[in-house]
């Protein structure tokens, strides 16, 4: 049976990304994006619906996210859905679905940063061969 798991989504960060360096020196970044969709309702008027999506990124991607993204930054995220589990402060076991980012495109216009140039795009990606070490790393996430 085919194994498929692919997400492509755009949105704006709802907060500054949370970044951390694990004990083994690996960078990890977590952020949430608000992704909006316009649709015509039963009243024939245009409406907007927003969904909130959690994203996690590793290594070089996490470093670039930490240096380039802030609350409100527009991004395009390519990745896959994964289930993340952790123990909450009250001792209960929690889980959530999030996107493991394989590639992040920063869609911020360069002139928003005071540089008078056309739209500037940066991309970040890492080799798929590192997939297995990501999973070992995320077990160490302290948050």
């Amino acid at each position: 049976m085919p194994a498929l798991n692919k997400v492509v989504i755009t949105g704006n960060l709802v907060d500054d990304p949370r970044t951390n360096i694990l004990q083994n020196g690996v960078n990890v970044a977590n952020f949430r994006i608000a992704s909006s969709r316009s649709y015509r309702g039963r009243d024939n008027e245009w409406h907007q619906k927003t969904c909130f999506v959690d994203v996690v990124a590793w290594r070089r991607t996490a470093e670039l996210i930490s240096s380039r993204l802030r609350k409100g930054s527009p991004v395009l995220v390519e990745g896959e859905l994964q289930t993340s589990s952790w123990q909450a402060q009250d001792g209960t076991r929690r889980s959530r679905v999030e996107i493991l980012a394989r590639r992040v495109q920063f869609l911020e216009r360069a002139d928003q940063e005071g540089v008078s140039e056309p739209v500037q795009r940066e991309e970040s990606s890492y080799a798929g061969g590192e997939t297995e070490s990501e999973d070992q790393d995320y077990e160490d996430i302290p948050f």
């Binding site: 194994a3 997400v7 492509v8 755009t10 704006n12 909006s36 909130f52 679905v97 216009r109």
Partner: protein, 119 residues
């Protein structure tokens, strides 16, 4: 890019495969729309620590199907069916007893293909 600064184009596309692990019965919302909810287990095989080892990475994803698609799936979809779902991510927000707001992600299906059904 749109002409408005910092407003990205609207892109929200998911394609995922897996086995159905739970499914609820067909229901109807207050405005008369058919709704079917199920969850699927997506599993991929990854290399292990040594060349002769493998390990599995599993994700449990909640899916909702609407309208005629939901009615059709209600007749055909079983626990254990292997499916490919195309759709978009959506989220539900709720407040817990401590007034903390949580968001839960779901996949709103635009198309569901059933590749294999349990015996």
């Amino acid at each position: 890019m749109t002409s408005q600064s910092n407003v990205p184009p609207e892109v929200n596309t998911v394609v995922v495969s897996g086995r159905v692990v739970t499914r609820k019965g067909l229901s109807r919302t207050s405005f008369g729309a058919w709704l079917l909810k199920f969850s699927l287990e997506n599993s991929i095989t990854l290399p292990g620590e040594t060349p002769d080892q493998t390990r599995h990475k599993t994700a449990i994803i909640s899916v909702q199907a609407w309208g005629e698609s939901a009615r059709k799936l209600d007749r055909q979809l079983k626990k254990g069916s292997f499916v490919i779902v195309e759709g978009r991510l959506s989220s539900i927000s709720y407040e817990d007893r401590r007034k903390v707001i949580h968001h839960r992600m779901e996949l709103t299906a635009s198309d569901v293909q059933i590749l294999d059904a349990p015996d």
